[in-house]
């Protein structure tokens, strides 16, 4: 019984790791294939950062997303990668909810393109955040190598 529960948990963890990692790799890739200004416009529309900082974020964040996504998929540095992804998702989710509450009709900029912030966007990002938190908790609870 314990054996099958443990196995199921490992499968869940592996699936979550691969899915979240793949989502991050995809999110970074779709931003990188377009000129950086497109993502910069998305970041700037949140009205949080000065233009200089917007440019730095727009030029570096997509590479970071790809890198941390790949590391999460491989399972190396599991605690570190799951913590970073949880932190990033917490920031993204907070900003999306804040913009929605402020009534800003802006695009979320999550996967490039034209995707206005909506309850569906918040549900998606919230689910990803919940998954990342679960991964993170499991990473710190277990001393063994990840699934």
């Amino acid at each position: 019984m314990d054996f099958s529960k443990n196995k199921a948990l490992r499968i869940v963890l592996l699936t979550l790791r691969v899915v979240l990692g793949a989502i991050f790799v995809y999110a970074g890739y779709v931003k990188l294939k377009d000129p950086w200004q497109l993502f910069a416009a998305g970041v700037a529309s949140y009205d949080l950062l000065p233009m200089g900082a917007v440019e730095v974020v727009a030029r570096t964040l997509p590479w970071f997303e790809v890198a941390v996504g790949v590391v999460l998929i491989t399972g190396f540095f599991f605690r570190t990668s799951s913590t970073i992804i949880t932190g990033l998702l917490a920031v993204f989710f907070t900003l999306i909810v804040r913009a929605y509450m402020q009534g800003k009709e802006i695009n979320c900029g999550c996967f490039g393109g034209n995707e206005p912030i909506s309850p569906l966007t918040m549900l998606r990002d919230g689910s990803m955040l919940a998954g990342a938190i679960f991964l993170c908790v499991m990473a710190y609870r277990s001393r063994r190598t990840p699934a």
Partner: protein, 198 residues
Amino acid sequence: MKFVALALAALATGFAAGPDVDKGKTMGNPSAPITLELYSDFMCPHCKHLHEDILPAIVADFVKNGKAYLVFREFPLNIPQHVYSRPAANYATAAARIGKYQQVCDALFKAQQQWGMTGKVWETVATALTPEEQKKVQALASDPSVLAEVQKDYDLGMRSQINQTPTVIVTYKLKQQPWSFWDDYNLFKGYLDGLLKK
């Protein structure tokens, strides 16, 4: 091979600007590598900012030198605060039929606050026209083909998932991308320059 390339180029232009663009609502060379479709609403303050402060730079940097083809699209927002947007769009589209679109746009945006409060749209439009032109535009403004053209622009915008004005749909090599951030023109300029270097 050449035929295929020509067919693709023709398809790209058609895809970008729509099959029956009103020539009076365009600027530049239709075969320019980039097509910019500007969706705006005459009662929207950000559209006024774009029209008066940013559009001249876009025209100078990309339209006049043949890098971009500019198409003006009407997107009168269906909200109670913008009750005069649709009549303004109808008048502007009617003015385009006699080659006076830009002049009417300038007049409408310049006096946006006044007619937005009083509802005197026609009085504002008339300032940009001669008495002869006024008669023509007034007749055309209720013409079903003009009303249909405005509605077609609006429907195109809805299909392109436009959720704010002003938005420019940038079409380059068959790929369409909306742009609606206008606080920093250099960002938009850099984006278009980057596309042209691809």
